[in-house]
Subunit: 367 residues, 2 copies
């Protein structure tokens, strides 16, 4: 789970906070590792001394994907013992790339599996995945988890909710249109960059066939709770009506059909550029904090452990929604009060709270 | 001027501090740009769709080399309009790579010339230049300024000085041997990575034919001043004798002969790996703060402007020399007192103080 928002929070919270608070995001990747290994097994291997290039796009500090990347690179090493591998981590410029390199180069508590694999060359890119990251025809395997729900700009305010999943009508349509434009831009760039036979594995936050999405899997809806508690602050006068209206996640959750359309519609520029759908499925990965709670039954502990995982990726959005006329300390106090109210609500009535992950898993091939 | 030491200071001092405090380091690069442009003009251009790869090794925040890199990439763009260019910035993992990407991608006050050049792909690497950064035979033009004087480890304490330029006998020999080992390792890695006909431009702190080196060009010696003032703190009991002894720059200033030996000695592994000396010269670039002082004549202003440029790359070494038993605040207070005493000394008697840059400029070719 990455992008501008989470990244700023990571930078604020310091080393390791992000990966520690995103155990579920790691589960999502670990559980789907066989899909990436299958893609790696099908890649064409360059026979002319050129390197195999693998990318993790939207990598944050590299922690959640480290174990999977290790398995993939070891598999490629076995397939092509003499071929150099370039492992490229990408994220937005404000990402903590120093933390990423420290993790990857084994300078932190995280165990880096990349150190033991010969002829692996690690790089980073600060180029958004909506633009060109790699030279044409040079990327073999692109991977991106829990990143492409970030859109490049907010098309309009959402007047009555904090997230587009709570919006309807023209507002929802505007977010969906922005989401479609960004997805097309991202896929077109990758179609240009992939070698023929190259693969793209995208594990995206989305809306599954049953209408479920992150934190909305039958119990209490997380985004509705965000919205209620933030609106309550407006009702209490702690934030202004404008601040409430201006607080919106720059995200679009897409349906399976919306994700697949560029890859299956023969008229789409992505299809015409040669990118094809190889595999799609949806999965729900259970919230690890709620799962722990089912074991220990301590509501206060659950609340205390659960809120940081929400906060790790959402805090920036709430901070950014507040007026720039406020001091940083004022903004922080408002946001602290907000998360305290969420924690309080979970502690009083923990039943139904769960940030279950709902992902749409796509594997694409460049023909 | 980069490496572990300066990097930590940059991270501590925040955005832009490093480049602002290193106007002289930018002069060094700007003045020598024609050498890099000549090297770029002689490069072989790949004809098979592979990219041209250019590297800035020891880049810090990219600010001092930005203008030069812009000229080089524009020249390559003109020579090879259709060939993608990979621009790779490298430094140690703790470098502020986020600041680098923000600078390069035009998100700061610095004007980035890289934005306007088509088909340029920017990457970073956190791999030390003493190890392999690139796949074999993939690097076209390697550049490194004011970076290779950092050695990979200190061979021993320097009991009576802070820098190896003030050491003699076995201690100096140990630093020179470490410097030779690191230079050979760096050059061997580059020899492996460069394409045939590829070039390496190294602008290094060193000792010129007249025995001059950084801050030691006939006036007051900067490193001797560092040493005197630091020893004074030991004399006053502000630091212990052990702290004095343990404060040493992890650097080796090499002579012209020492720099050239791996490239001209037919028995050396670097020579045997195909790296050859194309050009060597030494230059002294005048301290911009002392030059300003010659104009304005205000000793207090000179002292206030001069000390930060010394501090930007030296502070970490003095902090690191202090006992880990001290609190961070204690260490900072000692180091503040130290630089205050330096500023005081310059203010009282400014004549002769100058951090003139003394560089040895090498251009090598892979045959």
């Amino acid at each position: 789970m990455t992008g501008t928002s989470s990244i700023r929070d990571v930078a604020m919270k310091g080393a390791g906070y992000y990966s520690r608070s995103t155990a579920g995001a790691k589960d999502v990747i670990d559980n789907a590792t066989p899909m990436v290994l299958d893609a790696a097994a099908a890649l064409p291997i360059p026979g002319d001394g050129r390197p195999i290039t693998v990318a993790d796009m939207g990598c944050a500090d590299g922690g959640t994907s480290m174990e999977m990347i290790g398995k993939v690179l070891r598999a490629l090493r076995r397939r092509a013992p003499g071929t150099p591998i370039q492992m490229v981590y990408t994220d937005l410029p404000r990402n903590d790339f120093s933390q990423l390199f420290q993790n990857v180069h084994g300078l932190t508590d995280l165990e880096s599996p990349l150190l033991d694999i010969p002829e692996v060359y690690v790089f980073a890119s600060g180029t958004t995945f909506h633009k060109g990251i790699f030279p044409p025809g040079s990327l073999h395997l692109g991977f991106s988890a829990t990143a492409s729900h970030y859109i490049s700009e907010k098309p309009c305010p959402i007047p009555d909710h904090v997230h587009m999943v709570g919006a309807g009508g023209a507002v929802r349509a505007a977010y969906e249109a922005q989401g479609a434009r960004d997805l097309e831009a991202m896929m077109l760039q990758r179609a240009r960059e992939l070698v023929s036979g190259g693969r793209l594995a995208l594990f995206n936050f989305g809306i599954d066939e049953a209408g479920r999405y992150l934190g909305n899997t039958g119990g209490v809806s997380m985004f509705d709770t965000f919205n209620e508690l933030w609106r309550d602050l407006a009702g209490q006068g702690a934030i202004s009506r404008d601040e409430y209206r201006n607080t919106n996640f720059a995200q679009c959750y897409r349906t399976v059909d919306q994700f697949c359309a560029p890859l299956t519609d023969e008229e789409s520029p992505v299809y015409r550029a040669g990118l094809r759908l190889s595999h799609v499925e949806t999965r729900v990965v259970r919230c690890p904090y709620e799962r722990d709670f089912a074991g220990h039954g301590d509501a206060a502990r659950f609340a205390a452990e659960y809120i940081p995982t929400l906060r790790s990726w959402s805090e920036h959005t709430f901070m950014a929604g507040l007026s720039p006329d406020r001091t940083a300390a004022e903004r922080q106090a408002v946001v602290d009060r907000f998360y305290d109210s969420y924690e309080d609500r979970v502690r009083r009535k923990p039943e139904g709270h769960a940030m279950d992950y709902v992902h749409i898993y796509l594997v694409c091939e460049k023909v």
